[in-house]
Symmetry: C2
């Protein structure tokens, strides 16, 4: 914190003097400079800062801006030759991502800044859906033919390094561009200079297809601790690479998606950005879950009204309705959350499935007995009736067993039906548990009290 | 899938023949071999497979095993010289992590396998809490003095590469071990061979302290797209590095923690592993949230019983209690989830706070009006009373406004009080919304019906 304040002061002092500002910025990371740009209120200040940077750094900073429209606006308002210098330093995937967010006119304006070859490249990348390996990949990688020597390969890296996104993996291709091997810079460095690449490369290359889902790409890179993974098309021709920093972004996004979806907040449309995002999207993404709750609430009401005549004889029973409803819903949500998570991470599969169901059911009973006894005592103390205590206690045990089993089974069955188990989210499970719980409670009461 | 089956067959054939098995395994990634080991039922098979591997690969495979106890058991049951070969290939942080999970006896047995120097190193690493930079770091990095040339540095990398966790960053230290600079292998490779390292290194090194929280380490590495970050002690002496693959694990773990905690499933104790984990931990971690729900349920019951005399005059009102309760809880949870997420990612801070509260409140009203009108119609159709329709409709609008505001404010206030906002999880918010919602409903009904 103290360091930040010192930095702020330094920045303020430096802003008065271009040379000092340049020196200050030189020592900052692109992500930090992007934050400074975002916090500036005046467009002229923002442009001035970007102009001071080397084109290479300016390209990185613009890509780090969270607000792509801001980046595009700054870029299009800069003097044209300056803007051309900057876009020529952008990696093709970053450029495609930036342009993808813009409307038609802005797209044209930016694409005009690129050389024709680069513009075509960027447009090709924009054709891949953004959540696929193709949408994620960069085309700036180092590729060498299999027949060159280690020394020659190092020389090729030296030449290609300024443009390549990562030089830590060397991809080996045949004359038609097919991916035939891979070699890490580490292995290359320790290899004897005159060894042929084909002798030291790994032939069993892990790769992904351009159409693979970004979540699968992230899983492979995480699992194998890769720094990058090659992307090939259906003919096995190397088209690009996905680097680990983009994978980290995917992991963040997917976690946010799961997180919000489980709470019934969203169907992927409302992601973390839309905490500052579109109002109508937020309303639209939350409404479906509330409609489920309405259906559930009306069904519960139907249950209550069905037993009305018996029920009204012992009015105290209705005081426990909120408790019965809340309890089943909570336990069901807990079980379904653990299960959805377990399915996502792969820890629930094969023979683990039955084990998980049994485990969650036993947890449900244990929690039910604990909670049920507590509530039975509370009910007795409050209403002075042992019978009511017993009814509510027993109802809770049955309820929580049912809710836990339901919360575990539903995501597993959905998964088997190839439906995303995360749709078995809080609102769905808790609504179902509510209705079932209420039915159990009402019937138990009627049986025991002989109504 | 098809490829997996083919692989399985190949594995089965290969198991009959050691040479074939070795060739098969040679082409697999450590994470894949670890999966094979985990799926084997027979300890002898597991040991046989590990023995076939080169010690270096065996070390990687044992570290990839999710079950550290299994890894330790295999290791201690191997012939001693074999086990020594394997542990000597383990990186110190992986070894520390593995040993950390074991009980006292097993720890001794494994530590005895290390050479004294390595054993001391491992024990030093074990002293750092596992969720700090120190607990996460490895001590196998490449460090060079500032005064050597680029060519000499490349030669030093060649020598240190087999042991180093990553050779893609070169850390520059002074004679006392203070971190004074950093250089990427990429920059080193393109530098002129006779340049002094001190001329080309970056002096403004981003680093973390050994005591920093792993979540902060992950944030920095994600933000700046680093492949590794140096870890220093309070004297600025370089102690280790945290590599990006460990950061990815942290991101996964933290996402799982947030995910489970928001559902009131857990207080960090029950993580994804315990989908197959300890029963008692699961029960203990879920119970507190249920106790909150009990309190809430009893309070709601109290509200119902308080208004009993007025209430019983229009029995139909009670049929909507489940709906009123469910609705407020859901909207509150949605708002609090978005807010908790926004706080975690930093998108809600400073002037954004008021904006967020106003935004969620407006979403609450919009959803309330939509849902309220729908339910009002449904109530009229069901009960044939316009008045009841109006009451329930109005109650839902007020309810959802209150719940959305509450769901947004509570995490923000908790954050200000330096309490983890994620404890404002589903059970807490939905319980509070339930009680407030019921109070609004009851009072509206009494006012409008003049009870």
């Amino acid at each position: 914190m103290a360091e930040n304040e010192k930095d702020d002061e330094r920045l303020k002092r430096a802003q008065k003097n271009t040379k000092e500002l340049r020196e200050y910025l030189y020592r900052q990371q692109p992500a930090d400079i992007a934050e400074i740009v975002q916090q500036m209120d005046d467009r002229e200040d923002q442009k001035r800062l970007i102009k001071i940077l080397e084109p290479e750094d300016a390209a990185l900073v613009l890509n780090e801006l969270e607000d792509s429209e801001l980046a595009a606006e700054i870029l299009t308002e800069l003097p044209e030759n300056r803007a051309i210098d900057i876009v020529s330093e952008m990696s093709s995937d970053d450029a495609a991502d930036l342009i993808f967010e813009l409307d038609e006119d802005d797209r044209e304006a930016i694409l005009d800044l690129f050389e024709e070859e680069d513009a075509n490249e960027v447009q090709r990348l924009m054709n891949y859906p953004p959540d696929t390996a193709g949408g994620l990949m960069t085309t700036e990688y180092v590729a060498v033919p299999a027949h060159v020597t280690a020394a020659a390969a190092i020389e090729m890296i030296r030449e290609q390094a300024p443009d390549a996104e990562t030089i830590y993996y060397l991809y080996v291709i045949d004359s038609k561009g097919h991916l035939v091997g891979v070699l890490s810079l580490r292995e290359l460095i320790v290899a004897k200079p005159l060894t042929n690449i084909s002798e030291i490369m790994w032939r069993d290359v892990r790769y992904v297809n351009v159409n693979d889902d970004q979540e699968d790409v992230a899983k492979i890179v995480s699992k194998y601790n890769f720094l990058a993974i090659p992307v090939v098309d259906d003919e096995n021709i190397l088209r690009g690479i996905v680097t680990v920093d983009d994978v980290i972004d995917v992991i963040h996004d997917e976690a946010a998606e799961d997180f919000l979806r489980m709470a019934g907040t969203s169907l992927a449309e409302e992601d973390e950005d839309s905490a500052i995002g579109k109002f109508s999207t937020a309303v639209r993404s939350r409404l479906p879950w509330l409609l489920i709750t309405i259906m559930g609430g009306l069904c519960s009401g139907q249950v209550l009204s069905h037993y009305e005549s018996q029920w009204s004889q012992v009015i105290a029973l209705s005081f426990f309705v909120p408790l019965v409803i809340g309890m089943g819903g909570n336990v069901g949500t807990q079980s379904s959350t653990v299960t959805v998570r377990g399915i996502a991470t792969g820890s629930i599969s094969g023979k683990r499935v039955i084990f998980t169901v049994l485990r969650e059911a036993s947890i449900g009973i244990s929690l039910g007995v604990t909670v049920g006894s507590l509530v039975a005592c509370a009910a007795y103390l409050w209403q002075g009736s042992i019978t009511i205590g017993i009814i509510i206690g027993m109802a809770l045990v049955c309820n929580m067993l049912t809710a836990a089993t339901l919360g575990t089974l539903v995501p597993i069955v959905l998964k088997k039906l190839k439906i995303d188990p995360a749709v078995a989210s809080a609102p769905f499970i808790s609504t179902t548990s509510d209705i079932v719980g209420l039915l159990i409670y009402a019937n138990l009461a009627i049986k025991i009290l002989g109504l």
